[in-house]
Symmetry: C2
Subunit: 457 residues, 2 copies
């Protein structure tokens, strides 16, 4: 162990920021399975993917051999406006818990989007601009991704069309207004601006929308317009690649003080944050250089790792996207009563799914009220009001620190604090009023989701 | 000028953070006038003030001779959780404006309270805890101060009673829930929990409250309870003292790179941020060591510096607090139609008022729509969505940078970016929809306010 005094916040110098993203697939012996064309069940080609996604992003999506990919200077310059993010030593939390464990968190919430999503949004906007496109389309549920993309598009002067699930559009007007302030057009989904939207409206006149429907509208809006492409904020390999900036900075900061983590914890919805945080550490593990205990934390209400199946499935409930092999609850599975909107996804990144299937990390599911108890405790002692998503990681970090208190072990725990909860106060209000409940799907609920899995050999 | 490359964000090391606050009054030849007891019109004694405020804070309030006051270690430890705040070089904004000016901003919004208010809240909570008090009371309008105080009280395990103006309580439920998450009790004001509240409710049954009424309730709640004191987030000398941490960090960061600012700009409501930012620079000016051009920016709708009178007046509309000599519009002046709640105060810090009266700084008033235009431009290019209050300073910083573009001068401009606008989206929505209007009080409006000034020799 180092003799250097560890500050509350470890900030890197600008010159220490990563100049390349790390592509964990390059070090995986078992590569993640390719995306399949749902019509032919054959791997999607670059050309097929290029009709939906930007060209350079397709290259990144398919590249499972190059370990390092240069971060263009324009993206690094944007990163410098809000990065490096601090790696914080949770001295106050450790003291409060009375644990011998050493707790660190990488805080990604210090930017207006309020989360790590901006790391990939700016990259995707950059490649769209470089390709000479006019704009991009996307969907957003809780609104973090839509906000991040709006910010990125404003910076590069790109048009940004966001399809926002209608119920969120109405219940989260502030998120909507942040996006509009950044110049994005925000359309409640389903809408009459697309064929698929009109069809859904005709069939279900009173619907408040779903993420699946919003994806379908966003994809249609991109593919039927000259000069537009569709972009996505999680799940994809390219997103994990961009998010590796989180893990790379974390590793550099730890190395500066000769700190080796024992446990690395992240919340897992589609996998963008978890994948980004653990990538460089996982690389060391894959290459046999070091060992770490990785823990993916998911909500008990949407337990794709802990209770899902490893199978080919649609990425969207609208079934317009390619098939991905992943841990999934079935694209028809509808998770209820969970406020962590960013974790309400039926599937999981195919890269993380393969790593999990290979036994390289643990997954744990936690219940909502226990998550908010951890969120409140953390807020009161460490100051930051966490996003409900991030609080899943806090819950398990505290649990592990309390185990250390019992055993006397001085483990070093690192977790990802992906964002802030300023736009999630409806959920906090429920918790403050003692009105929050837990929800765990029954085996029957899960069976119904699995029944909808496509048949792929 | 230095040859060192200036990074996007200048962060100080923990060891470079200030260990003492700077008390600008010590270097003032003309001291700010003392607070007066409204009954006797004699200066308030420490004993009289001690009935309302914590003892150590009273000492700080009255101390106009000691230039440096130690920051207790417990407060410095808390500061380390969210400070040092970055001094940001606005490279992207400069490029967009095409100005030869060099623009820097000190960003105080990277904490859950969303503003600089936490710098004084933690100090006031600390001294209350040290005095063995059970809790503190305060009022809040827009909610930034109430949030900051709730966070500080949670950290020191103090009870926190916040009287929130009823209209804000109802229209800003998210702010309320943040405070509740930190364990504060939040009461809509006027309420039936105080005598003054009951009296007002009886006289005006449908009232939605006012800051003046909330102050009166908070003061009553503190002075009629064993073990409680009242705390205030702006205007007072003690608050400016605590906020000097902003200016001290700014100066250390600039000195590291041999940068000397020409112009220093801050928004001004009660004066806490402006006073804190400029204090150490003003000290140099007062001691004849250096010269700077200071600009206080206030809303045209509430122009206490630019159109107010320098006179003794009540600090609150309820007229229960001591009299302060300050630039004021009269405690009965009600500013309308301005969304920057933090700048809707009829008076001004007595320290800043004296400095302004002595010709040591300029004041400028700006209109609301022009402020939001600057806010939107700044958000899109620098990423951060500013609080409406902070955007007043952005407006003038951009104006000054554009003057440099005309003249070709390479001036160095520093401004205070006090906070984020995440809880101000109702105002942004009005702006996005083109529904925002300006309001400038007429001379008759002002005359009505001045007519209510108390007669003090």
């Amino acid at each position: 162990m180092s003799e250097k005094k560890i500050p509350y916040k470890i900030y890197l110098e600008e010159s220490e920021m990563p100049k390349q993203w790390y592509n964990v697939r390059a070090d995986m012996k078992n590569k993640p399975a390719p995306l399949l064309n749902p019509a032919t069940l054959k791997p999607m080609t670059a050309e097929e993917l290029g009709a939906v996604f930007c060209k350079e992003l397709v290259n990144q999506e398919l590249d499972d051999t190059n370990p390092y990919i240069d971060i263009p200077e324009e993206i690094r310059d944007f990163y410098k406006m809000y990065r490096p993010s601090p790696l914080v030593r949770a001295y106050c939390l450790e003291k409060k818990l009375g644990t011998p464990a050493k707790i660190y968190y990488k805080f990604e919430g210090n930017n207006t989007s309020g989360s790590h999503k901006l790391n990939s949004a700016i990259a995707q906007a950059y490649y769209a601009k470089k390709q000479g496109l006019k704009g991009v389309t996307t969907e957003t549920g809780a609104g973090q991704w839509g906000t991040a993309l709006s910010m990125a598009c404003a910076y590069f002067d790109l048009d940004c069309k966001v399809y926002m699930v209608k119920v969120s559009y109405e219940q989260k007007p502030f998120r909507r207004e942040v996006m509009r302030t950044y110049g994005a057009s925000v359309t409640p989904s389903p809408s009459d601006t697309t064929e698929v939207g009109r069809k859904i409206l005709a069939e279900h006149p009173g619907t408040t929308g779903s993420l699946g429907c919003a994806i379908s509208e966003a994809v249609e809006a991109a593919t039927t317009r000259e000069g537009y492409r569709y972009v996505l904020g999680s799940v994809l390999n390219q997103v994990l690649l961009h998010q590796s900036v989180i893990g790379l900075e974390t590793k550099t900061a730890l190395d500066k003080y000769d700190i080796t983590p024992d446990i690395i914890i992240g919340c897992a919805g589609g996998g963008s944050n978890l994948g980004g945080l653990i990538s460089p550490f996982m690389g060391e593990k894959l290459r046999g250089e070091k060992d770490y205990h990785f823990i993916a934390v998911e909500p008990a209400s949407c337990p794709s790792f802990t209770r899902g199946r490893y199978a080919y499935d649609f990425c969207d409930t609208g079934r317009v996207c390619p098939l991905s092999k992943m841990y999934t609850l079935g694209s028809g599975f509808i998770p209820s009563a969970n406020h962590a909107g960013g974790l309400r996804y039926h599937g999981m990144s195919s890269t993380l799914s393969q790593l999990y299937d290979d036994g390289l990390m643990e997954a744990r599911s936690v219940e909502q009220t226990a998550v908010f108890e951890a969120a409140e405790q953390f807020a009161r002692i460490e100051g930051i009001l966490p996003a409900p998503e991030s609080a899943h990681a806090i819950r398990v970090a505290i649990d592990e620190a309390m185990k250390c208190k019992e055993t006397g072990e001085e483990k070093t725990i690192v977790f990802g604090l992906t964002g802030t909860g300023y736009f999630d106060m409806v959920a906090y209000e429920k918790f403050n009023n003692g009105e929050m409940t837990d929800y765990i799907p029954t085996d029957e609920d899960l069976a119904a989701g699995f029944a909808g899995l496509p048949k792929v050999e």
